[in-house]
Amino acid sequence: MKNRSRIQILYFLMAIILFAVGIFQSWNVALTIFNLCLISSIMTLGINVQWGNAGIVNFGVMGFAALGGLANIIISMPPTSNAWETGGNFIVIGLMIFVLSIIFSVFMFKRVNFNKRIKYLISFLIIFVGYFIMRFMVDSPIEQIESIEPAKTGYLGGFNLPVIISWPVGGLLAAFAAFIIGKISLGLRSDYLAIATLGISEIIIYILKNEDWLSRGVKNVNGLPRPVPYEIELQSREWVLETANILKIPLPEVSSIIVKLSYSVLFLLVLLVILYLLQIAVKSPWGRMMRAIRDNEVSANAMGKDIKKRHLQVFIIGSAIVGIAGAMLTTLDGQFTPVSYQPLRYTFLIWIMVIVGGSGNNFGSIIGAFLIWFFWIQSEPLGLWLLSFITSHISDTNLIKSHLLENAAHIRLMFMGMILLVTLRFAPKGLIPEVKR
């Protein structure tokens, strides 16, 4: 059981590192890192199901995470007064007409027997007409909705439900998107699939950035409700005051640590549930079938496995997990900022985590997420320290030195690249390799 001892050593090491941050820097920082590590590890689990078990390259992490974030708005924000009356219904109907026109054109394309060119032309025309009907219906209501107190609202708002519901809903939204994306692109070869998913996730981000009536666009949605109490609330509670007295830590710090700890508990619960389900799935005949498809599609097909369907299935499951994590991330941030979704941070960093941790091994993905996220956060001070060490004998007025120190923050991209390249070169199976079954 070489793997088991590896898991134990690495997890133990990670715990020590986080404790060290808690003791030497502050517990607040340690918990912030820990929370984001938990969310990242859920995302990596989602990608690992797809890549590690089924060999599907999904570069759309960013889009699915953003859809999870959108679920936060739809579920938890209060509905904007008058927005629905002024034209929310028109928007919904308009969108439905557009969607129906797409469905109708696809249906027609599949069922009607014609010359292929004519079929394309007709399908295109139907969608085109549907699009313009939608624009005709939607344009002025959107303008009206966006003009309702644009500084504060200017969007439809949500259903005013507890924010925790948005986590599963985020998963569902992502699953729905994954169904469509999978239908479009899963037939492609791996390279094309990677580019297509990346492109579609960019489209999702563009929509969220520009459709102000839905997500307030670049104006962001602030003040999302929380599943845990606020710091101010806690500070007036008896037991919080007592703990602060006993531990001799200032009250604000205690309260923010309690808030972060309660987030950690929630996230850990979600992570454990997902991990448990995935472990069962991987060990089950279903997991064996997925690996068989991954290793040899032709022979799996010959054994009567429906590869397209299975790929779609695993694509939806993995993306839904990413969506859940994305919803949790937005809840943790307390705001939805479409601009912050960058492929470097969401898609590629998550992929580095999966590769470094060990593709095909769930425990590996988790430790990969923890280690890489920790490095991503800490490599900024680390780079600064490294550079000041190297340049310590140069005088402070030197232009090169000041330039180097100024740009030290960007050394972390280099670190990440190097970590990925070194892993792929010397340990292509990652820190905790896939279990040979």
Binding site: A196, L413, L420
Partner: protein, 336 residues
């Protein structure tokens, strides 16, 4: 007169910008297509290679300007370009020798190579930001316009102006020269032919005595040249910001795929298809109708198909459409 005005309007807002952006995309897509057909992987680091080329151009520009060498009225970047190309080629070959060669020897799957290229992308991106900083750098100097809108108006007496920026002129001319050179190399020289043979059928090429390392070497020379020129031109035209090049990778990939990956002519056509559709879809047609239709027929509203905010998203939409309808691209891919 109205008709001429309309034509001028179209050429000013669609034709010239489309040609410029299209040639930049085409040069980038050519680089990706050539790496894909010879080395058989999608090179995500290509955007950063372009950024690297632009960065070296900027650094050399600063050096040349401090030595007071310039080419007024043309931008200094033109004299600098050959040196920047050499440095970029050197960097590409260095990366290949240290990183890609190992996986080529192992005959790794193309997905693994793709992930490796993401590692290279991260590293190069970090290196660039580390050297030149993340900020905005404008390194254009010399005369701004070849043809000013005002001069055009005075000259022709039309109410619409037609402007041609120096950068646009340079981009189009340089792209044509580069593409002609590339096709001459691929089709007429022996080395180019051996490269095509290698891309077409690796085993057969090896059997007929083509040296694979030499082919790879030349591939990186071409890629480095294309990346450096494309990156510099893009930076010259729109001012240089390191992070824009990451976002440029996707339109470039779209261009390569739309045209048919592995086919150089396809890459060029793909570049122009993407560039022109971005402009055509986001163009406000109101003014055109104003010129071409009688007054009472001109509708109000801007008459945009999609708002300008979606400009870059259009390249992805086209990519998805092409993947859906004709995954091989306009030209069937995989042949040089």
């Amino acid at each position: 007169m109205d008709f001429l005005n309309g034509i001028t309007l179209i050429s000013n807002y669609i034709l010239i910008p489309g040609l410029t952006y299209g040639s930049q995309l085409a040069l980038g897509a050519l680089g990706i297509t050539i790496v894909y057909s010879v080395l058989r992987f999608s090179n995500f680091a290509h955007g950063e290679f372009m950024s690297f080329g632009a960065m070296t151009s900027i650094l050399l520009c600063w050096l040349f300007l401090s030595l007071e060498i310039n080419l007024n009225p043309l931008p200094t970047a033109i004299i600098v370009l050959p040196f920047a190309i050499i440095i970029t080629i050197f960097y590409c070959i260095l990366v290949d020798k240290i990183i890609f060669k190992f996986y080529r020897r192992q005959n790794s799957k193309s997905v693994i190579n793709l992930i490796v290229s993401i590692g290279v992308m991260f590293f190069t991106g970090g290196l660039i930001r580390f050297i030149i900083g993340p900020g905005d750098k404008n390194f254009f100097d010399g005369e701004r316009f070849i043809l000013k809108a005002k001069t055009f108006k005075n000259y022709t007496g039309l109410s619409e102006g037609l402007a041609l920026k120096t950068t646009q002129g340079i981009t189009i001319v340089l792209s044509i020269i580069l593409v002609v050179l590339l096709f001459w190399f691929l089709n007429k020289t022996k080395t180019g032919k051996s490269m095509r043979a290698y891309a077409d059928n690796k085993e057969l090429a090896l059997l007929s005595g083509i040296n694979p390392e030499k082919v790879v070497f030349i591939t990186w020379i071409i890629t480095g040249t294309l990346a450096c020129v494309a990156g510099t031109l893009y930076g010259l035209d729109k001012s240089y910001k390191p992070f824009t090049y990451l976002h440029l990778v996707l339109p470039i990939f779209s261009a390569a795929i739309v045209g048919g990956v592995g086919n150089p002519i396809g890459a060029i056509i793909g570049g122009f298809v993407i560039a022109f559709s971005e402009l055509i879809v986001t163009f406000a047609y109101k003014k055109i109708f104003f010129y071409f239709l009688p007054n009472y027929l001109v509708p109000d509203g801007l008459l945009q198909i999609l708002s300008t905010d979606y400009k870059i998203a259009i390249s992805f939409i086209i990519l998805v459409l092409v993947l859906l309808i004709r995954p091989t691209g306009i030209y069937k891919g995989k042949i040089i």
